[in-house]
Amino acid sequence: MNVLLKLSFSHLMGRPRQTVVSIAGVAVGVGFFIAMAALMQGFQAYFVQKIIDITPHIMVKDEFRTPPLQPLQTLFPNAALDLKGLKPKDEKRGIRNHARIHQSLKKLKEASVTKGLEGEAFLNFGSKTMGVALSGIDPEAEKKVSTLDKDIFKGKLDNLLVKKNGIIIGIGVSEKLGLKMNDTVTVVSSEGVILRMKIVGIFSTGLTTQDNRTTYVQLKKAQILLRRQNVINNLRLRIENVDDAEIVARQIENQFGYRTESWQESNVNVLSIFKVQNLVTYSTIIAILIVSSLGIFNIISTIVFEKSRDIAILKSIGFFEEDIKKIFLVEGFLVGIIGSILGWGLGYSLCLALEQVPISVKDGAFIRIEGFYLLYTLWHYSIGAIVSITSAVLAAYLPARKAAYLKPVDIIRGAA
């Protein structure tokens, strides 16, 4: 073994208690980082997965991102225009030419598409009334676009095909109104149409907004309820590679003009919260690592002070300042790497322990979860180790520098 390395080792071995505390500091930092990151990003990944499963990846809406240009504006694009008393045209809502758009979207590779009509309605059952989002769907195509079929735990999606006046409700709606399978509920649409419909399915997605609000009926029924024959107001797509959703959405919007939202855009509020969350996770870890760096700084400063005579001897022999520095930087490195390896173990154990914790968040929460979802990725382990080893070496740098520039004469004279 290299003598300098042996010196580094034996310096640390000479102060076992402080060394153990320093290593423990790093291990705790790395361990907690791994556990926290696994927890945070595990939850985020679970949430994103839910969004991806339940909501469409891309949704073409019957809206435009910018209001249409006035004829005068198209005529004189560079003129300053001040229009007063403008009355918007009372246009019929809905996606025009939807059959053609639907056909061309069907041709997209690695994508499934379905059309639907959404509107507002009230459900009356006994003395209770509840406002819901009414979603008219094509049950066959729906299976390819969302996981609704799998989320239905009572009844099934195909019931909509069999029972023309069937309605599928979320578990939240079912609980609030006290509706059970095969109950008959009165549906009053925002257009004033009243239909009596039968519960043919109850679903539970885990996303509270979905479970408490959305109800599904056949597209035809929705068109009747909302008085919009042959009209649809959304086209929903599911694509193979969810990360491409934004790009594909932009292409569709450019081609057809209708506002097209990717799942990222629709959930931008939640996704931006995740960014803040990650920031908090990382700052906590940095704080823990700063504390453990102080421990490393402390022990190495002590060693430098204690071993100043040895340093003087090495320098009088002819060792370079860089050699001396190396001894102490290696000590920081050793503490960092041993701490990191122990921290890996600690982090993994914490993750395993967290997985065993039963928690149940149901009512009123944004998302329904049972237990923690943990994300296991080598990334967390590498980031934890790299950051802690780097900070350990940095913490060792100051005392190492001090050691390197000690004047041997001062020390030998003092010691003799």
Binding site: L314, S316, I317, F320, V409
Partner: protein, 229 residues
């Protein structure tokens, strides 16, 4: 072996002032020469500046003014790195206390300068170490740690460490100061051998007039001046 009677050190009007709250003048105008194959003792009362002079000869300290030549080259203005390299190749230090690194075995202490220099291969290093250990009667105890050795053995390990790179000059600061008479005589005997048989130059600071008188030259320093030889 180094040629006899060549100029090794030439000091001209060297002063050393330590600046601080109170300015301390340690050396006040010292001039002398040292030739190869000389065994010189520096004597003088405590605080006279003799150790400071020795450290300067060992390139651990530089004069505040004056000219300082080693092997015909001026040492003033060299970088710390250059000085360290010269120390490594040509100088060996022996102190009053053994100053061995307690974490390393005797043999590891001895090998330190050689490994730092890194000019020999593994077999050459082993041969060199074996030779030095044998000449100092340390073969049996080479693998002991310093705390397992007696005072005399420790000082001999320190001497072995000073000799391992075959330096031209040995600088010794009270090398027998912490030893009993018997061990002190042994060390002194080794020094005499080194000068006579291996052509080393030894400069030794000592308090012991009996030893000093047996060296080739005595430089007497009082109050930072050379009082006489």
């Amino acid at each position: 072996m180094v040629k006899k009677n060549e100029e090794l050190y030439r000091l001209e009007n060297i002063t050393r002032v330590i600046e601080g709250e109170v300015e301390a003048i340690i050396l006040r105008g010292i001039s002398f020469k040292v030739n190869t194959h000389e065994f010189i003792s520096i004597i003088g009362p405590s605080g006279s500046g003799k150790s400071s002079l020795l450290y300067m000869l060992g390139l651990l300290d530089m004069p505040s003014s004056g000219d300082f030549y080693f092997r015909g080259e001026s040492m003033v203005g060299l970088t710390r790195l250059e000085l360290a390299q010269i120390r490594l190749e040509t100088l060996g230090f022996i102190f009053q206390f053994h100053f061995l690194l307690p974490e390393l075995r005797g043999i590891e202490n001895i090998r330190l300068p050689m490994e730092r220099l890194g000019k020999l291969n593994v077999t050459q290093m082993k041969d060199r170490v074996d030779k030095v250990l044998e000449s100092l009667g340390l073969t049996k105890d080479a693998y002991k740690y310093p705390h397992q050795l007696s005072g005399g053995q420790r000082q001999r390990v320190a001497i072995a460490r000073a000799l391992i790179n075959e330096p031209m000059v040995i600088l010794a600061d009270e090398p027998t100061g912490s030893l009993d008479t018997e061990n002190g005589d042994k060390v002194f005997k080794i020094f005499q051998d080194l000068v006579k048989n291996e052509g080393k130059t030894i400069i030794m600071v000592t308090h012991n007039p009996e030893l000093a008188i047996q060296t080739d030259r005595q430089i007497n320093i009082v109050d930072g001046h050379i009082r006489g030889e």
